[in-house]
């Protein structure tokens, strides 16, 4: 096809042809590559001027068949897939998956490991909420708060780097605990963060929370009632913004969350402003949980006694036959797993992140399904933006924190 295309070749595909802009109603493609859709989503909107009359959402642009890939992988290698779900808070996904396997093999987790996990998960939650809230700011046009909060998120990523060597796709921890203790550098970074962050966070809060333009923009933008939210089986901050105090950490405590004292903030309208506020308050609560966990941290090993899943120290592999056998089996992915069916969920960055696992005793799961909160939120998206303006549609998407990686798995 070397002939030059002429204008008439494009006439039929004209954007502004009569059928697409017939009368007052135009069809507008919001996405898949649009700066407002953080990730690859397509929304086909029917608009009358600025007002959205009808919306159709499309999923699957970055579907990577994680659930199918998981059926071919040994259990300890599936963790890397979970990194890529909600990549803003990978450690929660990793640890949630580890806890699912622990539930399946029925192993006892030392208290210290649970507390260490709580610290990591709450840091990840702060990082996730920071991204979401600062991006709400960006989508309303206030870019400055975003740059402040991203510097703080970098500090959290530095801490993850201390723990596991990676920043974004962390693959953090192991089934049964952590591969090694937190380093002193991690603790000093954490101390610095806990000291500096609240003041900077308050500055960010001041920039937006009581800003008249911001309030006008976000209040009543993309609202959802508690009933509708429950019908869609919303969870996490988006459900709490609608006024339902459901939090997996309290309703179904895991990893010793029952030991900590924290508040579950709830909103009333389920609009963008409430979602923003719920996340802001959760960041403060997460900080308090981290402080409590640091204070109460018990002594003990940093991993459970699960030699089937936990690589022995290299020196022992050379000297000890048992260690060599375990090492070989783990590396070759031949760990024994009981037959069974488990569901475990954690409070992820943006909702209840569930792992439904069926094991037939083989080297890989028979079936592993992720309950991905973003997938659920995105179902409600057209309903939430119908009757609103295009600006609201953009804000609603970012305030629900729909992340393409988690949406499409």
């Amino acid at each position: 096809m070397s002939e030059k295309l002429t204008k008439s070749d494009f006439e039929s595909a004209s954007y502004l042809s009569s059928e697409t802009i017939d009368g007052d109603i135009a069809t507008l493609n919001l996405g898949p590559t649009h700066p407002a859709t953080h990730g690859i989503f397509q929304n086909i909107l029917k608009v009358d001027g600025e007002k959205i009359l009808e919306a159709t959402q499309t999923v699957g642009y970055i579907h990577r068949a994680f659930e199918k890939i998981a059926e071919r992988r040994p259990y300890n290698q599936i963790t890397t897939l979970t990194d890529r779900l909600n990549y803003c808070s990978s450690p929660i996904n990793n640890i949630g998956y580890h806890m699912t396997i622990e539930k399946l093999i029925g192993c006892e987790i030392p208290k210290r490991v649970q507390y260490m996990r709580v610290i990591i998960m709450e840091l990840a939650r702060i990082a996730d909420h920071l991204v979401c809230n600062s991006v709400i700011g960006v989508d309303t046009g206030a870019l400055t708060g975003f740059t402040y909060m991203f510097q703080q998120r970098e500090k959290i990523y530095d801490m993850f780097e201390e723990v596991c060597g990676a920043r974004l796709t962390t693959n953090l921890g192991r089934i049964g605990g952590f591969d090694h203790e937190f380093s002193p550098a991690f603790y000093s970074k954490l101390e610095d963060f806990l000291k500096e962050f609240p003041a900077l966070f308050a500055e960010f809060d001041n920039l937006l929370t009581r800003n008249r333009i911001f309030m006008d923009r976000t209040i009543n933008s993309g609202p959802i009632s508690a009933e509708r939210a429950l019908e869609y089986s919303f969870s996490g901050p988006n459900l709490r913004a609608a006024g339902v105090d459901y939090d997996v950490r309290v309703m179904n405590p895991y990893s010793s969350y029952e030991d900590f004292d924290f508040i579950i903030p709830v909103g009333s309208n389920g609009d963008t402003y409430d979602r923003f506020q719920v996340r802001q308050e959760e960041i403060r609560q997460s900080l308090s949980i981290i402080r409590q966990a640091l204070d109460k941290m018990p002594e003990g090993p940093c991993h459970a006694d699960v030699p089937d899943f936990f690589l022995p120290p290299k020196q022992e592999v050379y000297e000890n036959m048992e260690a060599l056998i375990y090492h070989f089996k783990i590396v070759m992915g031949e760990t024994p797993v009981p037959v069974g069916e488990v569901y475990h969920s954690v409070e992820g960055g943006n909702g209840e992140l569930g792992f439904y696992l069926i094991s037939d005793g083989g080297r890989s799961p028979y079936r592993l399904q992720f309950r991905r909160p973003c997938f659920i939120y995105y179902q409600a998206y057209p309903e939430m933006i119908t009757g609103q303006t295009i600006s609201d549609a953009v804000l609603t998407l970012s305030s629900m924190n729909v992340i393409a990686g988690e949406l499409d798995a």
Partner: protein, 344 residues
Amino acid sequence: MDGGLLIEKLILVVALFSITLLIAMYSTYLERKVAAWFQDRIGPDRAGKWGILQPLADGTKMFFKEDFIPLNSDKWLFILGPGIAMFTALMTGSVITWGPNFEAFGRTIVLQVADVNVGILFIMGFVSIGVYGIMIGGWASNNKYSLFGAIRASSQMISYELAMGVSVITIVMMSGSLSLRDIVDAQHGMGWFVFKQPVAFLIFFVCALAECNRAPFDLAECESELIGGYHTEYGSMKLGFFLFAEYINMFISSAVIASLFFGGYNFPGMDAFSGNTLAIIGTLAFFAKIFFFIFVFMWIRWTLPRFRYDQLMHLGWKKMIPIALVNLLITAVVIAAYNGWFNK
């Protein structure tokens, strides 16, 4: 016709043209530095010392980019759009009084390209034509996002021009002239109109933000919703023209705000000077005011979120225009009472 006058005006036009372009260029640099300062960043620092050559590098880049015209667009209008935007932006500088009269070569040089007796109307008129550049550019792109940007820009500019015009009328009533020179002269020393007409100033300032498409009224480009708004499809120097026109408009708006409300080249204690010293200090004072307002424009942009389209219209029609009208009425009554017209 006086040959000296011709040369004088020619030099002034060329000087004004280059100063406007230079200031617009360095406003882009300043904007990035100011933004970086607000956001804990460094900003451009690679081209030259402190990145001082960054605007040149940007300009060069834009000239050497492929001059792309979408196949399905209206080619001539697509080119005309940025042309109009740039032309109108550059024209408005011609009636602004840049400083007190200057004595040189035995003649009095007026630091104003043209002392039009309806100077302020001239500016308002050209600003109104400026919207055609955006509208034509956005429409000719044949892209819905561009069209949205163009519609938003034109409706926003038309609505805010009304309030702007009404607030200017109060100034005209107080100075008794439409000529910018007379308006500036009426604010001798510290008799700036901002003290007498603070409401008109606020309205004018907000409208100036809207007219320049600056945050919080930058709905026309609104990168998070409309990608680039009216200039989504533009590239190379045509995009450069649009961006440049925006910065020139910002410069001119600052100059108009300084002239109408902050005394132009007047400064406190100006009676102690005379002749060329006064001219030089006056001109410097005027530019200091202009740069202050350019900075305020940037300050606002990097602090505030933007409005939604309906809120913008709401603010324009239901708040700004009524306030401006009431202000106009009060001003009229006060002027009439002051002049004793009610006693007749």
